[in-house]
């Protein structure tokens, strides 16, 4: 069944169709959430909450072809809410950051671990921009619309973030 057909079926309450849809992208959603939140359990919560919210409100999705972007907009809102919680509870920040290093690393190379660590140090807005680009496949214009920013600002922030990462891991 085509994606648009699956979305139409899910809108009529077909749980199997919805499962097919979310199954295809939950890995991307998780990686995005993890790279935003730096915390495996919170990333899991953000993704599962986002998927369940999507299931409850899929009837409101007007453009069937926009399912993936719609899902990412929900999960990015979940992540932003969680980050606001962190900001209001600074005492838990240490725990959050230490969890980063307990995150999956069995198969990661030292360079991968280093870039992950440096990425997670970027400001939230920069992580969002790079994350939406990388994991959701958003184009600059779409990120700008999603984050209510100017496209040039998005472009320059992403460029600055990537340059910073390159400097930190000695690529420049």
């Amino acid at each position: 069944m085509k994606k648009e057909e699956l979305v139409r079926a899910a809108k009529t309450g077909d749980a199997n169709a919805f499962t097919e849809l979310y199954k295809e992208i939950y890995r991307d959603l998780y990686h995005f959430a993890y790279y935003m939140l730096k915390h495996t359990e919170d990333a899991k919560d953000a993704v599962s909450d986002a998927v369940m919210d999507a299931w409850a409100s899929i009837g409101s999705l007007q453009q069937e072809e926009a399912f993936k972007h719609w899902m990412f907009s929900i999960v990015s809102n979940k992540c932003k809410a969680k980050l606001r919680e962190y900001a209001n509870r600074p005492g838990e920040l240490t725990e959050v950051i230490s969890d980063t290093l307990e995150a999956p690393q069995a198969v990661a190379t030292p360079e991968q671990l280093q870039i992950r660590e440096e990425f997670l140090k970027l400001p939230e807005s920069d992580r969002l921009i790079v994350g939406l680009h990388l994991f959701a496949g958003y184009k600059t214009k779409e990120i700008a619309e999603a984050l209510h920013m100017n496209a040039n600002t998005v472009r320059s922030r992403e460029s600055r973030a990537l340059k910073h990462l390159a400097e930190q891991i000695g690529k420049e």
């Binding site: 009529t12 939950y26 599962s48 369940m52 299931w55 340059k163």
Partner: protein
């Protein structure tokens, strides 16, 4: 410039390679699948219903989920379910749910006839037109009671429920203390999405003696018993499947809601 682009690409590739060097925790998908399975019955589709019947069917089907839905205009069905994180089995949490929806349920912990509090939750439903486009939404607070394995749903939402003339004609009307109560019984057939009703069942549906709904895990035939009333701008209902309760017994329960 080209060198910058090359470095950008290398960095993005490195992040991507790191992220996809591991899978999400195995229990993430299990958790989502389990949540969807739990809510499967809570998702209803009524594409085959005539608009007139949708109101009654929506209400009764939503009783499976502890919700009340009404149809109107071009609404052809409702899709939705329990709001994530809202379900509680702690009776004292009802106050928090009331605040969230700005409704007062005044639910007793137990009714005199033995139905006792089991859990409470908020349910959100989108009203869809025939093309599956959202045309409205409802949110309701549902309190579930249980007795001898039978479940009774007490639901409250903002706004009065206006029953159609057809619905009122099929209801037993009871006036008590200035409140009008509508008692109804209906036969229902719940079918999985991939199962079609028989010709006899379709004929019964067309004759108005059977309501068919889709979205259940298995084929089920049940009779709903429900009581509806409006007070102070809120709509209330008590509803249960196969609970075998008379109008008087349900009104007696309603009178215990203060």
């Amino acid at each position: 410039m080209q060198s910058n682009r090359l470095v950008d690409k290398q960095i993005k590739d490195a992040i991507y390679a790191d992220a996809y060097s591991y899978d999400p925790p195995a229990d993430l998908k299990q958790r989502i699948d389990a949540q969807i399975a739990r809510q499967k019955k809570e998702v209803v589709s009524m594409r085959m219903m005539s608009v007139k019947k949708v109101a009654i069917v929506a209400a009764a089907v939503c009783a499976l989920t502890g919700t009340v839905c009404m149809a109107g205009g071009k609404i052809a069905g409702y899709v939705g379910g329990t709001r994530a994180g809202s379900q509680t089995s702690d009776f004292s949490d009802i106050g928090k749910l009331e605040k969230k929806l700005d409704v007062a349920v005044n639910a007793p912990e137990a009714f005199d006839n033995g139905y006792a509090f089991a859990d409470a939750s908020i349910a959100d439903f989108d009203a869809l037109d025939e093309d599956g486009i959202k045309v409205g939404n409802e949110s309701e607070l549902a309190v579930m009671y249980e007795k001898d394995g039978k479940r009774l749903h007490y639901t409250v939402k903002k706004g009065a429920t206006i029953l159609s003339d057809e619905e009122i004609a099929g209801a037993q009307v009871i006036e008590k203390d200035g409140i009008t109560y509508y008692y109804m019984q209906h036969d229902y057939l719940f079918l999985p999405h991939n199962e079609e009703p028989t010709a006899e069942e379709v004929a019964a549906q067309d004759a108005g003696s059977l309501y068919i709904s889709y979205g259940s895990d298995e084929r089920q035939e049940q009779t709903s018993y429900s009581l509806w009333w409006n007070v102070d701008g809120q709509s209330y209902s008590l509803m249960g499947f196969d609970v075998d309760m008379s109008a008087q017994e349900m009104v007696d329960m309603a009178l215990q809601i203060k």
